[in-house]
């Protein structure tokens, strides 16, 4: 995704001012000159020349690290290799180890996939609901509401995570105090961070809370472009609010939903900070690892950089696959 979005922007900056007289003019100018000058053979090259500076920057900053991670994933690479600078090829051994490990199939992958699924569904649903609500408000209150939810978005993941950890602190946390107040539990007798399900429930709250404002603001922007007449006409025909959402709003906003869903999926699959910083998430409780945490622990805590890279490549491949499926569904429906 980053490549697609960044490429045109990055290439414009260095190239456009330099070549303004020829390429900056209207398309007609270009065609006329090509016909007159007979310089047609240069034109297939020209876009690439113009793109070159941007592509070089992207290649160095994005492509090379990517290639490097793939190369690392084919090696048994530790501190010794880092110090000596030597390679230590093992072929696909790292991948075989990972894929042959029942831990991946019983713990890490279900954690990653189910957690991401829950987060995406909840984030998009909550975000859309909030957007619909904001859309019904007047200009002033919409501004107030939008600002309020943007605060949740602006809070760094680290800070947000600590806040949620404090809220659920088994001994002194808000939730424990409230439950104690109603006589449900004795503080300190229940630790929500040790059980896989309750651990991820808290993580989901954290991630959804942090992620829904982006969806809400994006969907709100989309909602504001829907002509009011459509809704009015439907109302006259006696359509309920539910029916109007599914028959008018949802189809028009389909591209918007596609974008927020794809982005949320990518973000929620590679959640790291929010898990790692939770009690037990930094390695002490192997039941709660996801792919990101597992990769980090293997690479940096144990110095097995090859193994960590292989996990990272695996995560990337899964994400590519999911994005591909999304894109295909999207384009197929547009063709129809």
């Amino acid at each position: 995704m980053a490549d697609l979005r960044a490429a045109p922007g990055a290439s414009l900056d260095p190239a456009a001012p330099a070549d303004r007289p020829t390429s900056g003019t209207a398309p007609t100018g270009g065609t006329r000159r090509r016909r007159a000058g007979g310089l047609g053979h240069r034109s297939p090259l020209r876009p690439w020349l113009l793109l070159a500076p941007g592509l070089v920057v992207l290649g160095v900053l994005l492509l090379w690290p990517l290639v490097r991670v793939v190369l690392l994933s084919l090696q048994d690479y530790g501190l010794r290799q880092i110090a000596s600078g030597e390679s230590n090829w093992v072929g696909l051994q790292n991948y075989a180890d990972i894929l042959g490990d029942s831990y991946l199939w019983t713990t890490v992958l279900p954690n990653t996939v189910l957690f991401a699924l829950a987060c995406v569904v909840l984030t998009v649903a909550l975000g859309t609901a909030v957007a619909l609500f904001l859309n019904t408000l007047g200009g002033f209150w919409r501004g107030v509401g939008a600002t309020a939810i943007m605060v949740a978005w602006a809070v760094p993941a680290i800070t947000g995570t600590y806040v949620w950890v404090w809220i659920f602190d088994p001994l002194n946390g808000l939730v424990a105090s409230v439950l104690e107040g109603v006589g449900a539990i004795e503080p300190g007798t229940v630790n929500w961070f040790t059980e896989r399900l309750s651990f991820y429930a808290i993580a989901t709250l954290n991630v959804v809370h942090h992620g829904f404002p982006f969806v809400a603001i994006t969907v709100l922007a989309g909602l504001m472009t829907i002509p009011n007449e459509l809704h009015e006409a439907a109302k006259v025909d006696g359509a309920s609010a539910w029916r109007r959402f599914w028959s008018i709003t949802a189809p028009i906003l389909r591209p918007v939903f596609a974008v927020v869903t794809i982005l949320s999926t990518i973000w929620d699959f590679k959640v790291f900070t929010q898990i790692y910083l939770m009690p037990g998430g930094n390695g002490g409780n192997k039941d709660v690892f996801n792919l990101g945490v597992w990769s980090y622990i293997e690479s940096f805590a144990q110095g097995k950089y090859g193994m960590g890279s292989a996990i990272a490549v695996l995560l990337t491949l899964i994400l590519l696959g999911i994005t591909l499926v999304y894109m295909r569904t999207l384009f197929k429906e547009e063709e129809l």
Binding site: I82, L171, N191, G284, D287, F300, A301, Q302, G303
Partner: protein, 435 residues
Amino acid sequence: MQRRSTVAVTGTLVLALGLAACGSGGGSGSETTGGDEATDFSGETLTVWIMEGTNPDADAFFDEVTAAFEEETGADLQIEFQPWASAHDKFTTAIAGGTTPDVAEVGTTWTGEFADVGALADLSDRIAEAGLEDDLVPGLVESATLDGGVYGMPWYAGVRSVVYRADLFEAAGIEAPTSWDELVAAADALKAANPEIIPFPVAGDSQYGAMPFIWGAGGDLAVQDGDTWTSEVSSPESVEGLEFYTGLATEHGFSTAAATTWKETDLLAAFEQGQVGMMISGSWTPGKIVSDVPDMEGKIGAFPIPGQTEGLSDSFLGGSHLGVFEASEKQDLAWTFVEMMTTGEFAEAWGQQSGYFPGQTSLLEKVIEEDDPMVAPFAQQMVEAGRSVPVTPLYGQIQGKKTLETMLQSILSGSATVQEAADTAAADMDETFGS
């Protein structure tokens, strides 16, 4: 006054070193010869990495060191502070990129790892030349030793014992326990007198809290046989120790479910909030407790971790070495600095300011003689019952994947029995040792 005497001491040391170097007749690896050259390094700069946060007033300390060092050698000193949390990554990238400093503070559990990849210089000849080999704390030398070489100069050390609420003990008429049975009795009495107190929280995310009980019952983490290591955490003795330690929580109810995921810092925070009766805690924490919560002054005490029936249980002896990097071109200058920092007046001052113990035995004995009630129990623990984790780079990997913490948390949360969890941990360790 202070400054002058410091310079005099280090001056003497450097002179002695120079003479020793002459006397050894160039048999050592050092390329510089002659005592006079050893004192003239003007124009050179020595780069040093020091970990952040050990000494609350490190800037002032190193201002003095820099001045003394310049006066002594003519060379400039560049001290760069590194946070502990990112230091390991920083070392790794520096080793990879060839940008290591000349000298660095290296945590004792890392020294073996960095030495193993050839990043650190062997200091054993220089230590012998300086006549220091019998004056260094053995536990710290052990953790710096790899295949007969010594790759880090012992600088300072800390050890964990039990920190407790002396006021509550006194009010309930409880004596400091000297065996495990007495520890249970003390916690019971404390709980009876103060129902709202957590008598002895068992922190699940603290490996060093469990080690004294594994060792105290006669168990071990791993044993070496030739070149290979084998895990011992599932041996009957280790399991017995673990059963006692986790039993404090699961059987006796001296802990809280919250502590299952506590790190040592969480333990300390709960203690500072007045919720805790006793805890396994480091020699550097009493000072911090009193400075964080002045009300605690005079209300806290410490005792060494009691042995199962008598004596003491061993406790992990951690700390820092000063390592000289192999890639440094200023080996002689670097050693001059290392010796200045780790022996004599500066080492003593560092210990006093930071709440750690010096790595030089003669200085440590001086601290013990002072008999400070908040220092003496830790000093006793360190001298009589300080112990190192297995000295192999592989053990760093095991610590990295938190094998012991995983074991503790699964026992405390009830998802595994002690034997099951210990078996899992042992298999996990052996997998790393075997690879």
